[in-house]
């Protein structure tokens, strides 16, 4: 199956039963698959009037107690930013899959891009933390969509699956595990009475148990700054408290959230860092480099946000160079550079989108870097 269909199957396997979306290349196949599959499982597919509405609808469905998701690409992702912010502020579990194409604007609808990485991090206004995963294959579309739901249910926020056109459209074998082998995390529910329940009072891990609509708790949910009762609190102190918790629940659990796959790092002199389809070009380049006797390594980011800052900080002094490979003009490379703290040279292999990066291009950069040239 292709990556978009694998995304759909992963979502269904983890219990997603509501999808609201709007057609957009190259993410349309996720919606098409959902529209076929959800009725078979008693779920709802609804095609909304735009991506603003799609995002709003999945938040509503999530508060109705149903795991929900949407999928889109660049232009639609831009429209979703408003209600992604609402999801962050109201701590609403849901998943957004962005099958990236080349931008800006309408750009190249049918060609790959990875230009939405900073938008994923900072696209909605105000300060917040986000979780974003980046699959490199249809199998990972399946697996990471499951993980995205589990993270969203546990940490209570919209989780982004940042795929790309190539991964979305490529056909590969996807192994679907047995039902009992799939880990499913559901949102924590309150155990106290209605009188004692404070909807935004967090447990020790920073996460507040969530009452759904209809559970009898008669909750109030608002995008305004709110106190632990969920009531608007229009002052700087309340705002500081709320955002500190929203940010803290992700930052303080970084080691549980961040996931990378590391290859040949033990003796590596040059380390390539990449994600999504670019990580596969990078893998080929690193293996070619090894065949040429160059001690190259690869960090494949499974979670792109939060960024594995600590890993890079400890690695940078031990290597000759770090290279970010991504289909944009340099986005995650900024994060790599920041995390390396000047301990080694950091460079970019990228393009502005439209085509994936050829392994030879990356191999060339590795060869140069090992000789001390960047």
């Amino acid at each position: 199956m292709n990556g978009d269909e694998a995304c759909c199957e992963g979502a269904l396997a983890v219990g997603c039963r509501f999808f609201a979306g709007y057609p957009i290349t190259p993410a349309t196949e996720v919606a098409e698959a959902m529209s076929r599959r959800l009725p078979q499982l008693g779920g709802i597919y609804i095609q909304m009037e735009d991506e603003i509405a799609s995002m709003a609808a999945i938040l509503g469905a999530s508060w109705g107690g149903v795991k929900s998701m949407t999928s889109t690409s660049g232009p639609g992702f831009s429209l979703m930013m408003e209600n992604i912010g609402l999801g962050i502020c109201t701590e609403t579990p849901c998943v957004v899959c962005n099958v990236q194409r080349a931008g800006p604007s309408t750009g190249l609808p049918t060609a790959a891009g990875q230009g939405d990485m900073m938008q994923a991090r900072w696209g909605s206004h105000g300060h917040y933390e986000i979780i974003a995963l980046s699959p490199s294959s249809p199998q990972e579309m399946f697996d990471m969509t499951i993980r995205a739901f589990n993270l969203s249910e546990y940490y209570r926020l919209p989780v982004l699956v940042m795929a790309d056109e190539v991964v979305g459209h490529m056909n590969e074998r996807v192994i679907i595990p047995r039902e009992e082998d799939i880990e499913i995390i559901n949102r924590r529910k309150p155990t106290v009475s209605r009188e004692d329940y404070l909807p935004y009072e967090a447990d020790a891990d920073g996460i507040a148990p969530m009452a759904n609509c209809g559970d009898g708790y008669r909750i109030h949910v608002t995008g305004l700054t709110h106190d632990e009762r969920g009531y608007p609190a229009m002052n700087a102190k309340a705002h500081e408290q709320m955002v500190t918790r929203l940010v803290g629940k992700i930052r303080n659990n970084r080691d549980k959230i961040i996931s990378t796959k590391n290859f040949y790092l033990d003796d590596a002199e040059v380390v390539v860092v990449s994600y999504g389809i670019s990580a596969r070009s990078s893998m080929k380049a690193v293996r070619d480099a090894r065949n040429e006797g160059i001690k190259a390594g690869l960090i494949k980011l499974e979670t792109v946000w939060p960024f594995p800052e600590e890993l890079i900080r400890s690695l940078a002094p031990q290597v000759k160079a770090l290279i970010m490979v991504e289909i944009n003009g340099g986005q995650m490379v900024l994060e790599l550079e920041r995390s390396a703290r000047g301990a080694c040279p950091v460079s970019l292999v990228g393009n502005y989108g439209g085509a994936i990066l050829h392994p030879n291009l990356i191999l060339g950069a590795i060869s140069k870097a090992v000789k001390g040239k960047t």
Binding site: A13, V14, G15, R17, F18, A20, P39, Q40, L41, G42, G43, I44, I46, M48, E49, D50, I52, A53, S54, A56, A57, I58, L59, G60, A61, S62, W63, G64, G65, V66, K67, S68, E82, N83, G85, L86, E179, E180, I182, I184, N186, C213, G214, D215, G216, Y217, R218, I219, H220, V221, T222, G223, L224, D227, Y231, P232, A233, M234, A238
Partner: protein, 294 residues
């Protein structure tokens, strides 16, 4: 607004059971018509006799949007214009819950206009109460899609150059199953219309022409809140059996009020279930509580 102290020795109000009393006093200006609509909504809800845990209120942004913060139901104060798509998701996830959307004219018909026409077209089973105060109140009185041609607002100091929508006509044209309009003075009719709208299956819509004395009234020299109420009431003509396109909404001439639409039409879920029934063995079991293991 969260620093309000409880007032002592006040006997309980009959509507207290549906109010977040700890959040009173509210933020609405003296003379604002929203309170009248709010109490009509609460009275109508009580009148249904439904379990309050099976009713939810969804609102967007603006003065009317704050209703959701004062009602003691599951209540959602969402983003500007997006109450309807949020409510759509909520309703489809929990068809057993009655979902009420409260929204102002700008929220519902400017920034949320596209959502409105599509929610009505789909015949989502929602009750929508529109408080039409002819301007954007929360931001200090700017022109809205309801502002009468020539009316003064902070963004049309010489008179609004735009012609307004006729919301009730628009709602009926988009497929609403129930459409009524009243002024805030006609409380009994309003209350009974909201009751009917709540009981109606499908997309029901009630528009209320309300005074905004602080902004719209002041800039257009309409006098006190009471004078505004009386003015709108004086302009109103009850014509229930009228074609919605003739239900004129013109504060200088005639505000036609009454119930304009009351029809039966299959909802989105009716159609969805019908078309997908053969492959929906687990219909209505999408809630995680009902799913074995997942």
């Amino acid at each position: 607004m969260t620093t309000s102290k409880p007032v002592k020795n006040v006997p309980p109000h009959p509507m207290d059971s549906l109010l977040r009393t700890e959040r009173i006093p509210h933020i609405w200006c003296p003379g604002c018509g929203i309170g009248t609509v709010f109490s009509a909504v609460i009275a109508a809800i009580k009148n249904t006799g439904w379990d309050p845990n099976s009713i939810a209120m969804v609102s967007g942004i603006g003065c009317t949007g704050r209703m959701a913060g004062y009602i003691k139901l599951d209540s959602f104060h969402t983003t500007h214009g997006r109450a309807l798509p949020f409510a759509t998701g909520l309703k489809l996830a929990r068809p057993q819950t009655k979902v009420i959307v409260v929204s102002g004219d700008g929220d519902l018909f400017a920034i949320g206009g596209n959502h409105f026409i599509h929610a009505a077209r789909r015949n989502m089973d929602l009750t929508v109460i529109c408080v039409n105060n002819l301007n954007y109140g929360m931001t200090g009185g700017q022109q809205a899609p309801s502002t009468p041609l020539g009316a003064k607002t902070t963004t049309s100091v010489s008179g609004s150059p735009e012609e307004p929508f006729n919301f009730s006509y628009l709602a009926s044209a988009c497929g609403a199953t129930y459409v009524a309009r009243w002024t805030a003075m006609q409380v009994r009719s309003l209350r009974s219309s909201i009751s009917e709208a709540l009981e109606k299956r499908g997309f029901s819509f009630v528009e209320v022409i309300t005074p905004c004395p602080s902004s719209f009234g002041r800039r257009n020299r309409m006098g006190s809140a009471l004078e505004m109420l009386k003015f709108y009431h004086g302009r109103s003509v009850i014509r229930g059996d009228i074609d919605p396109k003739d239900a004129s909404m013109d504060i200088d001439k005639e505000i036609v009020v009454g119930k304009f639409v009351d029809i039966e039409r299959s909802t989105f879920l009716d159609h969805y279930e019908k078309f997908n029934r053969p492959q929906m063995p687990q219909w209505r079991s999408m809630h995680p509580d009902n799913q074995k293991g997942r």
